[in-house]
């Protein structure tokens, strides 16, 4: 029964996507939105029913593999189109479908005047389907299918406004980097099959401890290949550059795909394969260190850049960095918990940002935004709630989840103490950059757009400009509509944000140390064979960690207040004093340039070489050579054709004569 519900979870978004995709020409105005919302809500309900079904099982049998048919068969090797239902996958299903439902409801209003309304919901439903395939996959092959499908859905939605050159380029970049990750995953799957002879989760995780000795090179190689996939999908260093550009997509897309769900797939992958990573502690440490580096670097970039959506994007990278550290050091349930709360407050932050960007007529520069506290009180409150949760303010959801990861690093001790310190610095930066946004755009005298909203009661109509380049845009399909919608005036947006705001505040009660630990208990059947399963800080240690985290967060907010309200001249002074550091951060640590230098330009040089030498020299040379040979052979025999009738007669006669003479001689 449980597996039936899980199959239905997959079915509804697929049906929704197909219905919208096949009938969009005949659909009435808002039907696509309603179908989209209906499909995802139905999937969410099925997800809840699946959880109820699974909880009815005894703890040790809470994993169900179910398959519909054979997906591929090569000799004895068979791959089933199978799903694997266990607490971890259902946890992801609930997060994905729950947040997706709210974001669909938000988009219903937000995208109202976009000409590609139906297309948007078709893509969005397709994304949710792909993501659910990814989390429910029962073997590595189906996982790869889902993994590649979300990459495509992400590409389609980043490039959704296809008249924008920056958007199409960002889509390509995201796609290419994600495909590199896919290759890592393919190689990992091949290596797993080679060593274990199966790709089914159940078999692989059962046999892995017998087949591999701890830290043997095979298992480390497999885990590193898995990590390539995880890093690329989750925008961790050095594959992080696509995420900031992905902000070219519509804001609900940033909210759903590039904050709440798809980018957390890497975390899910490591948590899913924790058995393998525990056999390869080196690879797990690599994951944790890369996560730490990403969270610190992304934090510094988020403090420096001024594009509202990109600030939140870097914050996403940074928070996913925390999750990577978490799964790297073995704090699985804490990471999954942080994944969930992060989905709530980051989706909320993006929604609030979308509302503000709408009010700014698509401008995204926080330097130009001022005084939105009065102009958009509801959005302002939601932005503050989201930022409080993000910076881990006490009793907000982010406080419980993030500090649980941080505390676990301290609990592991040794070299992980350095990670503990790094993550505390990261938490401090998180508070600064979240409240930098708040202090820059909410208080103060209203800017032109905000004042217009206060006076006239509706959103200003700006020139259709590309927020990234400032170029004029043509106003056909494939361009954000001229009408903009803000939460204050759209019920759907308001509802979605209110629900997420509430969840951002109270989701922490799920996991109060020593009180309930709902998430840990729910996920226990998945992680029970983990070597870290029963290693957890005592309640008092956990509360000590929470206190530290709370203090750091309050200090960070205070620092932001000092920098951006009390002494607004200080940031400028810092910028002048430490010009080099500021340039480094504003230019995103030159990540794009380094990748251009190391990979893109050499690849282009190889392309030019192939074009110049191989294509023109070898291939063109061969074809032109054959043609030239034929031509010169023709020229050689051409002189025989004189056109002189009498010379032909001579040739013919002597020719025949020669033949006759030959036969005469032979006959003698």
């Amino acid at each position: 029964m449980t597996s039936t519900w899980a199959w239905l979870v997959l079915l509804f978004p697929l049906l929704g996507s197909l219905t919208i995709g096949l009938t969009f020409k005949t659909l009435p105005d808002r039907a696509a939105g309603l179908i989209g919302i209906g499909a995802i809500v139905a999937a969410f309900v099925c997800g809840i029913l699946a959880v109820i079904g699974l909880q009815g099982e005894p703890s040790e049998s809470r994993h169900i593999a179910s398959s519909l048919w054979e997906y591929a068969a090569v000799g004895d090797f068979k791959i089933n189109l199978g799903i694997y239902v266990d607490p971890l996958s259902l946890f992801m299903v609930l997060v994905v479908t729950g947040v997706s439902s709210l974001i669909h409801i938000y988009s219903f209003s937000y995208m109202k005047s976009d000409q590609g309304y139906h297309r948007f919901f078709g893509y969005l439903n397709f994304f949710v389907f792909s993501m659910l395939v990814l989390v429910l996959a029962g073997n590595f092959i189906v996982l790869i299918v889902g993994w590649a499908l979300v990459g495509f859905a992400s590409y389609a939605l980043i490039s959704y406004w296809y008249r924008r050159s920056t958007a199409t380029k960002a889509g390509m970049k995201a796609f290419v980097i994600n495909v590199i990750g896919d290759i890592g995953l393919y190689v990992a799957a091949i290596l797993i099959f080679k060593s274990i002879g199966s790709v089914d989760y159940g078999t692989v995780f059962e046999k892995a401890p017998e087949v591999f000795s701890t830290n043997s090179w095979e298992i480390v190689a497999i885990c590193l290949c898995l990590l390539v996939g995880a890093f690329a999908k989750s925008a961790q260093m050095p594959f992080h550059t696509w995420l900031a550009d992905a902000m070219e997509g519509p804001t609900p897309v940033s909210s759903l795909i590039h904050a709440a769900t798809m980018v957390t797939a890497g975390v899910y992958l490591i948590a899913r394969c924790h058995t393998l990573f525990e056999l390869a502690p080196t690879a797990a440490d690599v994951a944790a260190f890369v996560g730490l580096a990403t969270l610190l670097i992304a934090g510094t970039i988020a403090i420096a850049v001024t594009d509202l959506k990109r600030i939140i994007a870097y914050s996403t990278m940074s928070q996913i960095g925390y999750m990577f550290v978490g799964v790297g050091i073995g704090a699985y349930s804490a990471s999954m918990f942080h994944l969930m709360t992060h989905a709530f407050f980051k989706a909320l932050l993006f929604m609030a940002a979308g509302s503000i960007i709408s009010a700014m007529a698509n401008m995204q520069d926080i330097d130009k935004m001022k005084g939105f506290r009065k102009a958009m009180p509801f959005t302002a409150v939601m932005l503050i709630i989201g930022s409080l949760a993000l910076s881990g303010f006490p009793v907000m959801s982010g406080w419980f989840s993030k500090d649980e990861i941080i505390d676990f690093a301290h609990f592991r001790g040794g070299m992980y103490d350095w990670m503990w310190v790094g993550m505390l610095i990261g938490a401090f930066m998180t508070a600064i950059y979240s409240f930098r946004v708040i202090f820059r755009i909410l208080p103060g005298p209203a800017c032109e757009e905000a004042q217009y909203l206060i006076d006239k009661g509706h959103v200003i109509h700006g020139e259709p400009l590309n927020p990234a380049t400032g170029e004029h845009e043509d106003t056909e399909v494939g361009y954000p509509g001229e009408e903009h919608h803000i939460a204050e005036q759209a019920g759907g947006m308001k509802f979605a944000m209110a629900v997420l705001g509430l969840l951002s505040i109270i989701a922490g009660v799920l996991q109060i140390p020593g009180v309930d630990d709902v998430v840990t208990k729910f996920l226990e059947p998945t992680f029970e064979n983990s070597i870290f399963a029963h290693m957890e800080p005592t309640t008092s240690q956990a509360w000590l960690g929470l206190t530290e985290g709370g203090i750091i967060s309050i200090l960070g907010i205070a620092a932001a207040w000092l920098l951006y309200i009390k002494r607004p001249d200080l940031p400028l002074k810092f910028r002048q004093r430490f010009k080099a550091i500021h340039t480094l951060c504003v230019n995103k640590w030159y990540g794009d340039e380094i990748i251009d230098f190391l990979i893109v330009n050499p690849a282009k040089a190889i392309g030019r070489f192939c074009n110049g030498v191989f294509e023109r020299g070898v291939i063109n040379g061969a074809t032109a050579g054959v043609a030239g040979l034929t031509r010169s052979a023709g020229a050689a025999v051409r002189d025989l054709q004189t056109g002189m009738l009498r010379s032909y007669a001579v040739l013919m006669l002597f020719g025949i004569l020669a033949i006759v003479v030959y036969f005469l001689i032979r006959s003698i």
Binding site: D639, Q641, T642, G643, M644, L645, R646, A649
Partner: protein, 99 residues
């Protein structure tokens, strides 16, 4: 009478025709010389037929005569066509097919 004389006459006729084809430039004369060569062939056939005492050679001669008639029809047709288009009646001038 020995067969040699017939064959020598045939060879003589053939050579005359052949030289005529080579040295003359008027297409009508070339056609005449061709006929001479065909006749030389026919004479040789008849000679062998007489020597061997059967009629096979004579049958061949009849075929050769028919072919010769057809050939003359085509050749003279070409000559008439050249004449109508006021082309010079000179095979050396007609060499557009030079490669």
């Amino acid at each position: 009478m020995d067969i040699e004389w017939f064959l020598i006459l045939s060879a003589l006729l053939f050579t005359i025709g052949f030289i005529g084809v080579l040295v003359r430039r008027n297409p009508v004369v070339i056609l005449l010389c061709l006929e001479l060569m065909l006749s030389a062939g026919a004479l040789a056939f008849i000679s062998f037929s007489r020597m061997l005492g059967n009629q096979d050679g004579q049958v061949f001669v009849l075929v050769v005569l028919v072919v010769a008639a057809c050939e003359v029809v085509v050749g003279l047709g070409l000559v008439v066509a050249m004449f109508r288009r006021r082309l010079p009646l000179d095979v050396d001038e007609m060499k557009e097919l030079k490669g």
